[in-house]
Each structure stands twice: as C-alpha cells, then as structure tokens.
C-alpha cells in the first residue's frame, strides 16, 4: 500500500512544481489584465464560436507580443454557457467573485447577452458583449456597464433592406424563426423597407419554430402566396435545410430571395451546387478582389489568420466573419483600457462613452459613444457560382454602418420607450 500511494504522489508533486515554475514566466512577470469570456463552446453554436475564439486568441497574442496593455499582458478566461442564460450568469458570478476578473466579455445568443448584461449592471462590472447580435443590448436595454464590440441586427438587416428597396417588388412574404431574434430581424427589415418604399405590402407570413427540420409546408405556402420576393430570418443549419427543401420546388427561381445569413461560408460551402443562386445577402468578403483592393491590409490578415487557424487545428481555416469579430473585439477592449490608462471600470466607461475609432484590415470600426455600440463596415451582394463551381457572394457593395444605423436620437427614444414600459 505504501509504495502504491507514494508512486502516485510523486508525479503530482512534479506536476505541481511544473505549474509553479511555468506560471510566472507565462505572465511575463506582470499581473495580467484578466477578462472573463463567456460563450458557447459546446454543441450547436461551435460553428460560429470556434473561429471567433481563434480570432480573439490571435489578437491577444499580437497585443501581448507588442508589450500588452498598460505594460500588462491581456488574458481571457473562457467559460462555456451551454447556450443557457442562467448558466452564463452563474459563470459570470464565478468569474467576478472567485476569479476576480477585471471585465466580462462574450455571448453568442441574444438571450445570454442580455442576461450577462443585466448581471453586469447589478454587479457594476463592465461587460463587452461580443458575438451576439440583438440591438436590445445597447438600445432598449442599454446601460453604461455594457458595450457591444460587433455589429447589431439593425445594421446588417438594413443592408438587405436597402438592396431590397432597389428592386421593383411590391408584394412581400417572409419566413423567420419564431423567437426573439427572428422577430427582431423581420420587424427591423420590414420597418426600414417600408420607410424606403412606402408602397410595399406583406401578403403572407411564415413563423416556423427555431430548429424546425421540415419546411415543405411553408415552402408550398410561399409558392402560393402571390409574393414577388421574400425575406428569410432563418440562419445556420435551419436555413441550409430550408434551401435544400425549397430547391426541387423551384422556390428561389420564382420568388426573389433576401436573407442576411446565407452569405456565410458556414451555409454556402455545405450547400455547394445546391446554393440559392441570385439570393441577396450580407457577407464578410475576404476573397473579393474589389474589397481586397480597397483594403490593402486585408490579404496579409487573411494569410495570418489562415496560418493561425491551421496551427490550432481548426478544421475549416478560411477567414470567417466570426474570426474577424473575435479579432476586433480583443483590440477594441485593449484600446478602451489603453485610453483609460486604467482597468477601473468607471474610467474605461468614460472612454467608451466618449467614443473612439479604430482601423482594422477590413476598414474603420466606430465605437459610438452614445450607446457604446460598434459600427463596422457592411457588405451586401448576390450569391453566384465562381469559376471553380463554388458558391460565393459576388457583386459586393460596401456600406458603412454609420450611414445606415439608427441615430443617437432614435436610440434615446428607444431607451425612453423601454423605460416607460417598465414603469
């Protein structure tokens, strides 16, 4: 018994010694700035969060190699939210109370983002929402302890609405998943299209449940609706299923298809030759010659990210929107802390509420002061086949969010209305 227990103890002692030896060296001798990052790292959302996490890690490495922030290295401590708001809040509490992190960050689903934001407001911890998209984060439910480092729904859905308004279609239908995000998308799209073209009308609506696997009945209903065009708030696996099921019905040949989500390689690549040619969508056009010419630093970033992703075992190492978001998020957080010359949340909030601008390989990102909301460039285009027979988004038109997004006055109205509702 004696020998058995000692033989088990020695490797443990060795391991302990190793962590003690490695610990200070990894921290480069200085106390790191620690950010608790909560996101969905298991299950369905990993298709988005894995590239995002690599973008974040690559930026963190770059920042730390260049001397860190305020002379201190930046460190992210990741937690899995399992897509559940209560898990996310539990993780946030643990990160703040036990890990003593300086800031919170993360989110992929809107519900998680809003839950962490509510916790941050109570705990008076600054929270950088990253990957989730709901505009309620910084608008209806906005407060000083939340900043949003990426797009919100309003900006990219308005790109699609702008495109839609340039066509002569009057009769519209839509198919959107029946939950917060799907409703938000459709309402924002329709309000803006109606504003741009008052003569449009809705002839038919479809609200499948989130994750519905069979859309045949909705497809036949759309075909019979008499609409000239339709909007889709579907995304990810559900939209792939919808497109595959719609194809034999010839739906996208009969009704012009407008959808913010299909332009991502996560949807176009698996669809392959079944992709909906002619659909109007948004994308991150890292491969587009016009975009590369306009943004001369983008090719270098593409190369660096692809190498990074390959080195870290990412199965699909091509640059993705999520990767660019993770990358930008880390730099925006670092910039806010740098400008505040402190990790004190009130000082960082002071910087954020004044707003600042940053140049990224894909263009300028504005952190707007009035709502602490990021306003990046946007791209719209048409799904086409390239020479190799692979579907891509072509005829890219570049917008900047600042020309599309709701103004600070409109945001103030939204916040006032939300506050009145609560009373």
């Amino acid at each position: 018994m004696w020998t058995r227990s000692t033989s088990a103890v020695w490797p443990m002692v060795a391991l302990l010694g190793l962590t003690v030896a490695v610990g200070p060296a990894a921290a480069q001798g200085k106390q790191p700035i620690r950010i608790g990052e909560i996101n969905s790292y298991s299950g369905v959302a990993t298709v988005f969060t894995f590239p995002y996490k690599e973008g974040l890690a690559m930026a963190t490495k770059e920042i730390n190699d260049a001397g860190g922030v305020l002379g201190r290295p930046l460190e992210f401590i990741h937690r899995d939210d399992k897509l559940k708001p209560d898990e996310a809040v539990k993780a946030a509490r643990e990160l703040v109370l036990q890990e003593k992190v300086d800031f919170l960050a993360g989110c992929i689903t809107s519900a998680v983002g809003l839950a962490i934001s509510a916790y941050a407001k109570d705990a008076k911890v600054l929270y950088f929402a990253t990957h989730c998209q709901t505009s309620r984060l910084t608008w209806d439910e906005g407060h000083r302890y939340v900043a949003h480092t990426t797009n919100n729904v309003n900006q990219y859905v308005r790109v699609v609405a702008r495109k839609a308004a340039s066509f002569p279609y009057k009769k519209w239908a839509h198919i959107s998943p029946d939950y917060e995000y799907g409703q938000n998308l459709w309402e924002e799209f329709w309000a803006f299209l109606k504003h741009l073209r008052p003569d449009v009308q809705v002839v038919q609506q479809n609200w499948p449940k989130l994750g519905e696997s069979d859309h045949s009945s909705y497809i036949t209903a759309l075909l019979q609706s008499g609409a000239e065009a339709f909007f889709s708030g579907l995304w990810g696996a559900q939209e792939i299923a919808f497109v595959k099921q719609a194809r034999p019905f010839g739906l996208v040949e009969k009704l012009h298809y407008f959808t913010p989500a299909i332009g991502t390689p996560d949807e176009l690549d698996p669809l392959g030759k079944e992709a909906p040619i002619g659909a109007i969508t948004t994308t991150f056009p890292w491969y587009d010659e016009g975009v590369l010419a306009r943004h001369p630093k983008l090719p270098e970033w593409n190369r660096k990210y692809t190498e990074w992703a390959k080195a870290h075992g990412v199965k699909d190492p091509q640059p993705k929107l999520g990767a660019s978001w993770g990358y930008a998020s880390a730099y925006i957080m670092a910039e806010a802390i740098k400008r505040a010359r402190s990790t004190d949340p009130d000082k960082v909030i002071g910087v954020l509420s004044e707003g600042f601008e940053m140049e990224f390989p894909w263009g300028r990102v504005i952190m707007r002061g009035c709502d602490q909301q990021a306003i990046p460039p946007q791209w719209g285009g048409v799904v086409k086949m390239n020479k190799e027979g692979k579907p891509i988004v072509a005829d890219i038109e570049e917008f900047h969010g600042k020309d599309i997004i709701k103004s600070c006055d409109e945001v103030a109205q939204l916040r006032a209305a939300a506050a009145a509702k609560k009373k």
């Binding site: 299950g43 299923a241 194809r247 392959g272 199965k315």
Partner: protein, 304 residues
Amino acid sequence: MELITSLFPWITNGPLIAVQVMSGLSVGMFLFLISVGMSLIFGVTRIVNLAHGSFYMVSAYFMVTLIEVMPERALSFWIALLLAPVGVAILGGVIEVTLLRRIYRRDPMMQLILTFGLILVIGTLVLLVWGPDNKSVPRPDALAGSVRIFGQPFPSYYLLVLGLSPLVAVGLWLVFYRTRWGMLVRAATVDREMLGALGVNVSRLYTQVFVFGSWLAGLGGALAAPTVAVALGMDADVLINAFVVVVIGGLGSFAGSLISALLVGELQSFGILIFPAVSIVLLFAIMAVVLIVRPWGLLGRPEE
C-alpha cells in the same frame, strides 16, 4: 360559404390542397420512421431512450463520411443508405450490452439520466470527430428534381420517402405479427417475467429489440440527411418531434405511431395555412388535447 372562402382563400385551390396533403404525408412519414423505433424500444424494455435522436444524428454523419469516401457518385448514396443504419444498429447494440442492460430494473429516473447523458456524450464525440461545421449530403442525381402533381412541382426525393415508409410499416407488421420473434417481442411488452419463466432468453431479446430500434432511428437519419443540414443539434430537434408523436400515438404502439405521425404531419401542413401565427404551438396543442382525453395515447394501453 363566402365567409369561408374569404377567410381561407386557398380552399378552392385544388392543386394547393393536393400538394399540402402530399407534403404533410412526407412530413408524417419521416416522423413515423423516427418515432416507431423509440416506441418499440419503450414498449419492450420500458426505457424512454432519449438518445434516439442522437442515433438519428450519427446516422446522418455516417452518410456524410460514407459518401465522401466512396468514389462512385451514382451508387454511393444508395450504398451509404444501406450501411449507415447498420452502423448505428451496431452502435445501439454496444450501448445496450455495455450500459442499458445494467439499469432495466432501476428507477425510471436513473434510466432517464443515463440516456440523457448519452445525448451529451454522443454530441461531444460527433463534435470531436466531424468538427463544428455544417455538412450536407446531396440528393442522388435521379431524385434531385421534382415531379408534377396536379400541375404543381413536388420533390421527387419525397416520393422515395413516401414509398419506403409504408414498406417499413408493412415490414414491421409482418415481423411482429407473422414471425415467432415478433410474437416473443409482443409477449415481452405484456409480461416480461412470465416470458422469462417460460424459458425465453429475455436479455437477448432486449438487445435484439434495441438494435432493431436503433436501426430504425438510423434509417430515419440516413433518409433525412439529404433534406436537412447535417449539423450538431439535429438530435434535439428530432427527439422532441419523435417524442410528441410517440406520446400522441401511445407508447409502445406501432399503429399508434403511424396514425399519430400522419396526423401530426397533416395538421402541421394545414395549420400553416389556417393559423400561420400559431403553427409553432400546434404540435404541442395536439399532444395536450390527446393527453387530456386519452392520457395513454391514441392506441396505447392504460397502465394497470
């Protein structure tokens, strides 16, 4: 009459109704294939196999890999369609022998925890093996297009589903009502102790039933693969639908599964036309009504 046509303008549109009926049928047939295996496993082993959706998902991923590795395009889909469910049946067998066999006599809560744990384990393994990216299985070339039904386009691939599912239903009926093995399985659903006392190897019978049920889940997943995105999360979506169908039809009843699957498919198909705004709750509303009127399901037996 005018009121009806103004409320439901589609009611005079014969071709539309025909196509909605057909698409409702194909939805129902998919539901039947998935739920009948779950119902069968419950009927015999009294285990609600929450991992049934995971077997369906694994089969779809098997399709992706099998089609990728096979060089011949024209035949690869059909070979994969044969092999993928067999792979899942083997997986089911291994799980039954190593895990489930130990918990048949335990508290039902323990069984739920184990099969729920399997969902998480299988989901994580799929993420590790195939990665997080969405996958897609192309339809076989012969069934990629559509046929005309009353002048309306209808996907020809669904004809395969509409043809194959009744064959499975008839096959099941023949196996369970015309073979000795089927008779033993039916006897096991009624009284397993008595069956064991009569010298039947009940343990082996359970394994066989579980393998067969897993094969059915695999067949559902393999057939559905070309019509959906093969992605993480497809297990949960299908599990809920299968579970609702099984509950409506009556746990353990094959005919119940068939009737309830077709009922759900058609009601969903027409519910979209009649109440588009509430189509999301329709499925659960039907289940609630059935549970109130007949808590044991349409063709189930009340527990004694």
